[in-house]
């Protein structure tokens, strides 16, 4: 029997409002997240990331389609017991202490275990402030408490919405390591929504990019970057002849980097084809003086992908 996907959405859609005032937030979203992955969920503000997460957590009713966790509809009682989530920033009762907030949440889930609360508070570095009101915590401390709350029930699936918000640089590094260790050492699946693209690049195995409620790209992070055109900067002579030759096969632009007198040609080419460009130039008698290969970052990839869909409709690409 096949192992059910951790998260599966089929044509998941949400429209807020009715009639002429209706606003589609998520449109026919199809997601498949396998167990043990750290899955990145990327999109600009207002793309529909949080609405999707809220539908996965049964906080918002879908207008269409369905959302499943471990093969069962999220509305089925008990399904979300296997999920821990930090949705759109940490929220707690400011008048209760960190410990009491976690106790309230654990008891609400019918799973109060003081030892587990203590261990989690120590893990997120809040044991010393555990008895103080959350209202006196900094944003970073609340964020840590939010992570502890998400892990209270020892969930198999952890959904984190911008988990590094409010953390200092050391905290961010620590959090990234922690997220990776959840999947690597504790066999948890992590669904990570983040606007920090380098974070997703460093932490995630797979990524989905959504824009205006629609998924526009999906695949392994490494695959998306390899498939995407990297930039090969070449300094050649004569420039005009080289540019004319290259343009027949690849996208080429000319860039100047003052104070260097000679321009560079920037060739958009899959990274594995870089040697072919050089061989091609040499074979046509072009003198190649310098070659610099620059891999496209996920940020550039993301910006290019969202720009493309802003210009016109694009099909979803799955790897």
């Amino acid at each position: 029997m096949p192992v059910p996907l951790t998260i599966r959405t089929e044509d998941l859609s949400k429209t807020f409002g009715r009639g002429s005032k209706s606003v589609p937030a998520v449109k026919h979203l199809n997601l498949e997240v396998e167990a043990g992955q750290v899955y990145g969920f990327l999109g600009p503000n207002g793309a529909g990331k949080t609405t999707t997460i809220r539908m996965l957590m049964d906080l918002i009713r879908p207008s269409g389609g369905k959302a499943e966790i471990y093969g069962r509809n999220v509305r089925t009682p008990g399904v979300l017991a296997r999920v821990g989530a930090l949705v759109e920033g940490p929220a707690f009762y400011g008048y209760l202490s960190g410990w009491n907030n976690l106790e309230v949440l654990a008891r609400t889930a019918n799973g109060y275990n003081p030892g587990r609360i203590q261990a989690l508070l120590e893990q997120v570095g809040l044991a010393a402030r555990a008895r103080q009101p959350v209202g006196s915590y900094s944003l970073g401390m609340k964020q840590r408490l939010g992570i502890a709350a998400a892990l209270l029930g020892d969930p198999d699936l952890v959904i984190l919405d911008e988990p590094t918000n409010g953390l200092d640089p050391a905290g961010i590094q620590e959090m990234r390591g922690f997220i990776r260790s959840l999947a690597k050492d504790r066999d948890k699946t992590v669904f990570l929504s983040s606007h920090l693209l380098n974070e997703v690049e460093q932490v995630c195995d797979r990524v989905a990019i959504i824009h205006k409620g629609e998924m526009i790209r999906e695949g392994p992070v490494a695959g998306l970057l390899a498939e995407s055109s990297s930039k090969l900067w070449v300094q050649v002579s004569p420039v005009e002849k080289a540019e004319g030759l290259l343009k027949d096969r690849w996208k080429v632009s000319r860039e100047s980097l003052p104070p260097e007198p000679d321009p560079w040609l920037v060739v958009r080419v899959p990274s594995e084809d870089s040697p072919e460009v050089v061989e091609f130039l040499v074979a046509h008698g072009i003198q190649v003086r310098q070659v610099v290969a620059r891999r496209q970052t996920l940020e550039e990839y993301f910006l290019a992908a969202t720009r493309e869909t802003s210009v016109g409709d694009s099909e979803v690409t799955h790897d």
Partner: protein, 294 residues
């Protein structure tokens, strides 16, 4: 469910300021009143006489009279405000703290609402019982200072009769509190704000308390005198009528033209039950379908 109730209790009782100002103010306020009057009474008999004059002279009636704060017109207009404000704020604050997103994935929505209603009502009932005890103790001490009877004497039959009457009154009070909780919850869920919850809750409470006068006025304005009979279906009338049946075995006398009293106690109790169950069901239905976007 026990864990869920304990979670709610921790939240509600842990909000010291809110619970203090809106719930414990009843027994603590009465305690403060009797404390000051008793100390004054030691030095001046006038203080003690003034204090005992606020009681009925019978501990059984003084103990029961406390429930009039939420049930008997005209005290209930103001008396209901504090429990309403308390319940409305506790529901709305889940939105204001943004906590529903943490709670809903952990338990069923219906269970979350029912647990909250249960705990809020339990706390208010405890406060009213404590207020009864403080009132009786204060009046008894006052009588010791000024002299005179504070009856009836505690015998087996008096105690049994009192407990039965107290339980009857408490059950009525709990029905009233469930109706108030339903209104507070509905208003807070629909408006998602403390202020919205308070305004709608207070509006309902005032309309209910003054419903007889409103219906009379409406009957005159629209020339439909029979409209006054709708008063039989209001919580205000049903509570007063039930109390009258419990205390005297007769319906509450309402000397109004065109008004026919409810046929019996069961009718008024049924009206209260329908209000309580109907409002609770409505709250559950609305909350079940609500999108939690904050």
């Amino acid at each position: 469910m026990i864990n869920l109730l304990r979670a709610e209790w921790k939240k509600v009782v842990g909000n010291y300021q809110l619970a203090g100002f809106l719930v414990w103010i009843y027994p603590v306020g009465i305690l403060g009143f009797y404390g000051v009057m008793l100390v004054g009474g030691i030095f001046s008999k006038g203080w003690a006489e003034g204090m005992v004059a606020t009681g009925s002279g019978r501990w059984t009636d003084d103990a029961l009279g406390v429930w009039g704060l939420i049930m008997s017109f005209p005290f209930n207009i103001l008396g209901r405000m504090l429990p309403l404000a308390f319940m409305s704020t506790m529901f709305a604050s889940e939105y204001e703290w943004g906590m529903w997103k943490n709670l809903i994935p952990r338990n069923r929505r219906a269970a979350l609402i029912l647990a909250k209603i249960t705990v809020l009502i339990t706390l208010i009932v405890l406060a009213l019982v404590a207020t009864s005890l403080v009132t009786v103790a204060g009046q008894w001490l006052g009588r010791r200072l000024v002299g005179g009877e504070y009856g009836p004497g505690v015998t087996g039959s008096v105690a049994i009769s009192f407990i039965a009457r107290y339980l009857q009154t408490a059950v009525l009070g709990i029905l009233v509190l469930i109706i108030l909780a339903g209104i507070a919850a509905l208003a807070a869920i629909l408006t998602r704000s403390v202020l919205g919850g308070l305004l709608v809750g207070f509006g309902f409470s005032v309309l209910d308390s003054l419903s007889m006068y409103i219906l009379l006025l409406a009957g005159k304005i629209f020339s439909v005198p029979g409209i006054i009979n709708l008063y039989r279906f209001t919580p205000a009338y049903s509570v007063d009528n039930s109390q009258s049946w419990f205390n005297t075995g007769t319906p509450i006398p309402i000397p109004l033209e065109n008004f026919s009293a409810a046929p019996d106690l069961a009718f008024s109790l049924m009206v209260l039950l329908i209000w309580a169950a109907g409002l609770t069901a409505l709250v559950l239905a609305v909350f079940q379908r609500q999108d939690i976007t904050s």
